[in-house]
Symmetry: C2
Subunit: 110 residues, 2 copies
């Protein structure tokens, strides 16, 4: 077994599909800027339908990675979304895994 | 809309879930070393059941990213798997997207 073959499983087995899935990775990246954002902002930023965004937010909320608050701005109903501490940590862990994987792929192609 | 919010969709929308899914990313990484490997080798390297590995190989083969050859080594039936040119390109594109995403996340956390 080559070194790359040994390393790759150590890396990919630490990847959490809740975070790794491309749309959820996009959501967590936007939230990583540290502000709470509203539903419409996320929808526009990521080019998603409301239904699709809702589904991904629900997965992230169930895993404790985001916090969803419903409220009003004036008379308009709004939904605010923010990353939790666990969400920030999960994104940091994902970045660590992605960097290790990229290094592994670039090494394996030599 | 912030710069990160604008960039993130450009990046994540180029990500192909066929390649991005963690197990398939692992398979393509092992194959990226340029050798054809046998089914048992991949199974051991990635710590997968035969059924699980078969399912992921089938997804990759349908997308033209790998080539599967069945044959014999002596009297023993063997299944060989190799990356195609399209598979190598797909992995390179994924690496490009992952690097851009990591840069975006590291910038957004500042």
């Amino acid at each position: 077994m080559t070194k790359v073959s040994q390393e790759v499983n150590e890396i990919t087995s630490t990847i959490d599909e809740v975070v790794h899935q491309r749309t959820r990775l996009g959501i967590l990246t936007v939230l990583h800027e540290g502000r709470k954002v509203d539903f419409g902002y996320l929808q526009e930023a990521l080019g998603l339908t409301g239904g699709n965004l809702s589904q991904h937010l629900s997965v992230l909320e169930k895993s404790g990675l985001i916090r969803i608050e419903k409220g009003y701005e004036g008379r308009r109903a709004r939904t605010w979304i923010a990353s939790t501490r666990a969400g920030s940590k999960a994104l940091r862990d994902e970045v660590t895994a992605l960097k290790a994987l990229v290094a592994c792929i670039e090494q394996s192609g030599k």
